[in-house]
């Protein structure tokens, strides 16, 4: 089947490219050692050796990536990449079980704990590597546009499965969508109780009785331009309810009023 061969022959470049990209973060990136310390690898080999181990993985990925990208098509390269993907799946499973808070440390410097997408990405690379093993030519020559398109689609899939890269494309996309039409912008405008409570705290009326308040906010309701807030109070003459009237639609803490209403047993409970 020509189309299967065409597909298989394209995969060397894709898998090789992804491996080179992964190795770049481990060997060249300026935060590589910090990434290493946060990764699951640190749990496996220990924090003293993790830098060397991380770089060793990077060297293996770089060599394999270059071999896959370089001309002679050898099935053994693809099998090695498949083995690396299987190892990756094992590494992710270990991370998921033993170090759920550690980062994958795979394709970027952003902290990204092991999740479903990491497994899907490793699984995708495994499948593509197996396909690459059946390749017969280095780079399909007959339909260059389709080939480049396929490579772009596959790389886009790898990017979509990489939580480390979300802030490069997913967050900007969501930010743009929210800027265009904010999903939470439709709510009616009202003065939240939180705002009234904050105004109350700055008032002299509140400060004059705060020592005697025993509870947090008990009840609140609106009365014309006022919002009324009640608190339980412990006064020297017994239990009482502190009632505050706070301007509801204006910020005027000086106008806050207070009354302490004694709690008559059986009547006001």
């Amino acid at each position: 089947m020509a189309i299967v061969e065409w597909f298989a022959s394209t995969q060397q470049a894709v898998v090789g490219g992804v491996l080179l990209w992964a190795s770049w973060f481990k060997l060249v990136h300026r935060n590589a050692s910090a990434n290493a310390r946060r990764s699951v690898l640190a749990r496996i080999v220990g924090t003293e050796r993790v830098g060397a181990a991380y770089r060793a993985v990077g060297v293996v990925e770089a060599l394999l990536g270059l071999m896959l990208l370089a001309p002679p098509v050898l099935a053994v390269e693809a099998y090695a990449a498949a083995a690396l993907s299987v190892g990756m799946l094992g590494y992710l499973a270990y991370g998921k079980r033993k170090a759920p808070d550690s980062s994958c440390g795979c394709l970027g410097e952003k902290h990204a704990p092991v999740r479903v997408r990491g497994f899907l990405r490793a699984g995708l690379l495994l499948v593509l590597s197996v396909f690459a093993a059946t390749a017969t030519e280095w780079w399909p020559v007959n339909s260059p546009f389709a080939t480049v398109g396929l490579v772009i689609v596959e790389l886009a899939l790898v990017v979509a499965l990489s939580p480390e890269l979300d802030r490069r494309w997913l967050l900007p996309l969501r930010r743009w969508r929210v800027r265009r039409s904010h999903p939470l912008a439709t709510h009616a405008v009202a003065v939240p109780v939180e705002s009234t409570v904050r105004q109350l705290w700055t008032s002299a009326a509140y400060r004059s009785v705060v020592e005697q308040l025993s509870s947090d906010l008990l009840d609140h309701w609106d009365e014309g331009e006022w919002r009324l807030l009640t608190y339980a109070a412990r006064t020297p003459s017994g239990q009482a309810t502190a009632v505050f009237a706070v301007p509801r639609l204006a910020y005027e803490p000086d106008r806050v009023r207070v009354a302490l209403v004694p709690e008559e047993k059986g009547v006001l409970v």
Binding site: D166, L217, T241, L268
Partner: protein
């Protein structure tokens, strides 16, 4: 007296007067006990006897049975003077088995806590906003995903420490935020009370 009658009574008590300040003498003598009342009588490092945290494991006749995170069992009395917070100020019957709880009050001689204030399921989390949808915010809390539900009429936003507003349209994806909210027990979802963010 029903709740509306009581509100009317308390409204007239405060709005009928022009007092903006209450001095101690207008509400009774300043008893020496009140002045000498030691507010902080806890030794450094010792647990505060007047504070309880945990989850409600039983409710029996107005008494909340609470199992602390260190497995200590506490019994908590709620009275009409106890404030109960569960996303907003509410009443004692809002407490359900399974709710997380913080309570502050006075320790009684029999070991129970007479609560002055109870906060149910309250959480205070530092997050990044990863996405905003209709009535919902998706939040990232150190790699853990949290769904923040917007409750119309309750959810407030504080931008740059200015007074709280109900307008949430200045929240941005990718921004850091602090969220005070009510956890929905045994889920990764919270109902958002207040969100603090830069704008």
């Amino acid at each position: 007296m029903d709740i509306l009658g009581r509100r009317r009574f308390l409204s007239s008590a405060v709005l009928g007067t022009t007092a903006t300040m209450v001095t101690a003498t207008t509400i009774g003598s300043v008893a020496p006990e009140a002045v000498a009342d030691p507010k902080l009588d806890v030794e450094a490092g010792a647990p505060d006897p007047n504070f309880v945290e945990g989850r409600i494991t039983g409710i029996a006749g107005g008494l909340l049975i609470v199992t602390g995170s260190d497995r200590t069992l506490n019994q908590i009395h709620l009275t009409k003077a106890t404030s109960v917070w569960k996303l907003h100020p509410t009443t004692a019957d809002a407490a359900k088995v399974g709710d997380g709880l913080y309570a502050r009050g006075v320790r009684m001689p029999d070991g129970t806590l007479a609560a002055d204030a109870v906060w149910l399921n309250i959480v205070n989390i530092q997050v990044h906003i990863t996405s905003i949808g209709r009535n919902v915010m998706h939040l990232d809390h150190h790699g853990d995903r949290i769904v923040g539900h917007v409750v119309t009429g309750t959810t407030a936003a504080v931008y740059n420490n200015t007074p709280a507003v109900s307008d949430l349209s200045l929240l941005e994806v990718g921004r850091h935020a602090q969220v005070i909210g009510a956890w929905r027990p045994d889920t990764n979802e919270v109902d958002v009370a207040t969100v603090y963010s830069a704008a």
